[in-house]
Symmetry: C2
DNA sequence: CTTCCCTGTGTGACTTTGTCACAGACACTG
DNA sequence: CAGTGTCTGTGACAAAGTCACACAGGGAAG
């Protein structure tokens, strides 16, 4: 089966999967989704466990007046999602999932998921590990929001998302939604960075002129 | 063994425990802690899985300048903790745990914990369920902090913690630490509630005069 | 009882963040 | 090139956080 080979190649963790694990994975359903597709809504019932092999899905919260905040991402880096929470507790999704790129994923039905927990040591570890990562991320996110200046959070966000390059193509609104703040706040803060010659701004674009200063700011 | 009987009585979930689960629980170590004892520091290595049978432990984040926020509580209500995250990922505690009352708890060593996950269906479910609750709580906490007014969060906090009574004995600072805000903010907000005749304030004390209004406020 | 001291509360002035309303700039389309 | 979205800038104001300090109440010690 080609699909399973793809899975195994991408997930080192699954490479030496035990027999019951292989059986479960071989029944997984492969899906392809376009970018910006809603995977699940806030309040949806949760039916499958998802393993993303290609692309990223972002999970976000939203309030009445339209403000958003990104809670975490499901990425191809061996990481997978916890849909787990809802699957186990039988809860509804407390947030919304949207593909950010074209996404290839495998869906494991609820019954198989339970079986995986019971029978496959490897899968169980895999699932539990990603669960742990998520919780740790949520805990640090709470502290960021509660205690840190926007200036600092923005600087960190910019650096993390521009990676090794020097240009970030993103609107102020998108950045605000990521940080859970208002667009005007981001615009103003970016402007002060620009006035310090740390950045040059353009429509849908942020150019980095002084990453060192931004880095210092993100840690101060 | 008396201790195990106590455990079984208090945790319905464990009442019909399978054999491997019983074996593990019978090796658990019982500990008694006084109130206001630190259970673990931010940055500590995590060595045991904890099940609380009596009293409550609060888990909180703290920043440099002394502000705090309560992340969640470990209570006797059949709920148990996820120390899980660190145990599994081998991470350090990202937060601090403090007993709020006298606490009786059982400690399961890391090795037994791993064994529990592997061998006992019942314990696995128990652990996973509480994990799920925690994550759901963290997700909603993020959204509260990011989107909701202090007025609303404070009103909800007051009602939740006064329960059926009409007096809450707590300082403004303690309330602020719970909500992750500053003492002055709480003082001022309480004062406006008092001016509306929803509350009467005293030293270390909040008296409720109009719960209905507060309730409406907490939902508006 | 008085004084001292500690904790808890009140307040003003100021900064940062969030909200609202709207203007202007830019890019794409027809 | 005009028309129409989207994106950005800005001013005014409200809410929340910070800082500094005054004051009140309630023990404890003398």
């Amino acid at each position: 089966m080609n699909e399973q080979q793809q899975l195994f190649e991408r997930f080192p963790l699954l490479a030496d999967l035990d027999a019951p694990g292989q059986a479960i994975i071989s029944r997984a359903k492969k899906v392809q989704l376009p970018a910006n597709q809603i995977v699940f809504h806030q309040g949806d019932q949760c039916g499958h466990y998802i393993i993303v092999v290609e692309g990223t899905v972002k999970v976000l919260g939203r309030n009445e007046s339209g403000r958003e905040i990104v809670l975490y991402r499901i990425e191809q880096q061996g990481s997978c999602v916890l849909t787990t929470s809802c699957l186990l507790a039988g809860d509804l999704y407390p947030a919304e999932g949207i593909t950010e790129t074209k996404v290839t994923a495998f869906l494991i039905p609820q019954h198989d998921f339970q079986q995986a927990l019971t029978e496959s040591e490897t899968l169980r570890r895999f699932i539990f590990d990603s669960y742990g990562e998520r919780l740790a991320r949520m805990i640090s996110l709470v502290q960021e929001i509660a205690f840190e200046r926007i200036e600092k959070r923005l600087a960190r966000y910019l650096l993390e998302h521009v990676g090794a390059g020097f240009v970030l193509l993103r609107s102020h609104q998108e950045i605000a939604d990521e940080l859970g703040t208002a667009r005007e706040v981001v615009s103003r803060q970016l402007k002060t960075f620009e006035q310090k010659d740390w950045l040059a701004l353009g429509r849908n674009q942020v150019m980095f002129l002084n990453k060192t200063a931004l880095d210092t700011c993100s840690k101060g």
